[in-house]
Symmetry: C3
Subunit: 322 residues, 3 copies
Amino acid sequence: MQARVTVSEEGASGGHGGNEVDWPVMDQAMIDSIMAFPAETQGKGNQSLEPTVLADGTKEFHLTVAITEWEVEPGKVVEAWTYNGMVPGPQIRVGVGDKVRVVVDNQLPAATDIHWHGVMVPNSMDGVSPYTQDPIEPGGSFVYEFTTREPAIAMYHAHLHGQVAIPNGLFGTFIVGEIPLPRGITVAGREIPDDLVISQEIPMVLNDAGVIGLSLNGKSFPATQPYTGTVGDWVLIHYYNEGLQIHPMHQHQFPQLVFAKDGIPLDHPYWADVVTVAPGERYSVLYQLVDPGVWVWHCHILTHAERADGMFGMVTAFIVDE
Amino acid sequence: MQARVTVSEEGASGGHGGNEVDWPVMDQAMIDSIMAFPAETQGKGNQSLEPTVLADGTKEFHLTVAITEWEVEPGKVVEAWTYNGMVPGPQIRVGVGDKVRVVVDNQLPAATDIHWHGVMVPNSMDGVSPYTQDPIEPGGSFVYEFTTREPAIAMYHAHLHGQVAIPNGLFGTFIVGEIPLPRGITVAGREIPDDLVISQEIPMVLNDAGVIGLSLNGKSFPATQPYTGTVGDWVLIHYYNEGLQIHPMHQHQFPQLVFAKDGIPLDHPYWADVVTVAPGERYSVLYQLVDPGVWVWHCHILTHAERADGMFGMVTAFIVDE
Amino acid sequence: MQARVTVSEEGASGGHGGNEVDWPVMDQAMIDSIMAFPAETQGKGNQSLEPTVLADGTKEFHLTVAITEWEVEPGKVVEAWTYNGMVPGPQIRVGVGDKVRVVVDNQLPAATDIHWHGVMVPNSMDGVSPYTQDPIEPGGSFVYEFTTREPAIAMYHAHLHGQVAIPNGLFGTFIVGEIPLPRGITVAGREIPDDLVISQEIPMVLNDAGVIGLSLNGKSFPATQPYTGTVGDWVLIHYYNEGLQIHPMHQHQFPQLVFAKDGIPLDHPYWADVVTVAPGERYSVLYQLVDPGVWVWHCHILTHAERADGMFGMVTAFIVDE
């Protein structure tokens, strides 16, 4: 294997025209890396977290924060910071008007807290220690309690030590109620059916730093999850950026209808084949599978999807049947 | 104090699971850094610049460009490049149709000029030396004269040596007339009152490089200015990016109504809890204070708001009373 | 000449207040660099590629992929990866419903393929080897065949080894049919005439990495192409980002009407003086030349337009006659 060819993000310089590289070796390495998809790894993020329903109807959830092993790509196991042992943390889904109670047990060596990014909560529940609460000490616990007020496509993550904790894995998705879908409208001449049926709803959580690194839902290609569907299906995706950089997410072929920003509907959706998501942002998009085949779906910052010896990082694919 | 823990923006790699860090020390450093807010420092940017009104009604402003000391955060004094000794430079506000005259005295060791970014001016006043004027030599002066044509949420900054001069502090805000506010409209089901009253208008100038570094209005947390208000208030903010990177600005809790881009109203505003501002861009947003408490407001690139030993940089807070 | 003064994109640090720099020398270097525009270099990208029309009406195009010399700025010749010897590759323009055939001859030392980014094609023509086809081996060839379905403002580029191949020059523009222009509408109080006539259509392809580096249409200032027009002209621009970073493109004076994203019209265009384009994105804008003069047009990431010893990279100008 050759020494890695690096392309500077600074642009500028230059140098290798390519003739000094052993290209047959690199070609094969690239092909091998791509054909390795989908690869099995231990652990799956975004698993649904079921509440205990208390006598007064409160939905109680339990989150344990700890440093646990996480297999980012085949054979690459890192010391991740996790909620309930997974990256992203378990998905929490509640209704509007629900009384929510989240019990957090901190088994980290560091103090922590949880900010409900995009959810309207009272200030005492905003998770910004030491302003709105005391930090949750190692071995300690804290109970977040609030009643949801409106629909949200939101995230939860640490705030204290955020620049270490979040890239290392302390993030999850939090959905309140139902985001209204665009139905029976025409956008740039394309109709969205009035009787729109969503075949699947996909959380797509982006990260690029810490021990997890460049990843989709906590996994790096070829360990990223493939998605499958049938021609004609309508797919709903929520992008969440928990990283430190923007990620322009490119769906091959299917134009994405961007219809909500940070969980709030746009009065006028628009189409895009690249949806750029900055840190902290969420975009909700809708699209229809049009043609059969294997359609890759990746960040278009090329160095987030490929390195000289192979495809990696922020890449997955939609496999569409007739 | 431990050696600084670094999280690479390149993502990738990994390493520290956290166990080698002395977390109790880091926890305390983090808490201390947060509780230090708001901290006193010398100097305040964005001060209003009053014109001399000449016989023919012309509004004459004076700007002196020099290298002066600037306290970015408590005890960190840098050799900033300043207009009238402050960062951001003084705020200039004029009406539509005003005759404007700006006398610039250059006390820098380098030549300079001023570009009126976002203001329609004749080419000879565009401040792009040596194309539209000769550079203003050290010790020299230049008079910019133009009549404003339309409302603007604009900036002024050096163009020559811009990549050194601007990050080091040579920027200010320039407002022409009144930007029309959205009134009596409903956006995503949320009403903006017809009789909207703005309780305060906040310029929020972003920077990330040079001697000033990661900062809001020329100051790094905990020296950033806190903002105060009362439940029910409507707040108007103009973001201006004078740095080299995007900054996704996150307001805890209050969704921001984005209603103008680069000072020009959007026909269809939209809501966001993260507003991403790229270099050179301006976004104008409106929001209402809903709940009492201390609501932090920061760039969501985590390394722009926190380092291993504490909160810093692009962070401030809205302190809301009942 | 001084050692280069660097301003970290990381912000933070600081140091040089400027007094240690020999500013008269730097001032002159800056002026000289700016006055060198426009500079002659060998080679011009985006040249129109004429098809051979076959008996059944198919439009056949030929692309040869090779490493060839490319003069990025005066005297800086690099080993670029090119289509038909130019950067960007030749512009391909076809109609909706056209049968298109593109014969690709690979003279690179590496395998390659071509992805039609933004064009709806069957999966077998999507150019993602080894999924949708075998890689085109060095010395080999491949024929892409598809019938266009709808208008597109698209790009073509390598997919295999994309992070090396694309920054090094393997990209071009691909236009299908006519994008509908906004006519007879009013946006933020500004009217677009019903009888709008476009005086020129400009492809503006952005890059920032590889051997080409920070550039507009394959050239670095002062070798970038100047644009000329007359007061009153309406200009149509398509931005295409083939680089690794966002580029906020600032037109001095003329507000740009953003009316299409990724080649699909926005139902509600908006005005901006800075249009931020992320990797893989395309934005189509329209604007009118209002005042005579030399109006610079550049990326507003200052370090993409200037270095300590002069203007360079992503800068050009519109020269407007009365």
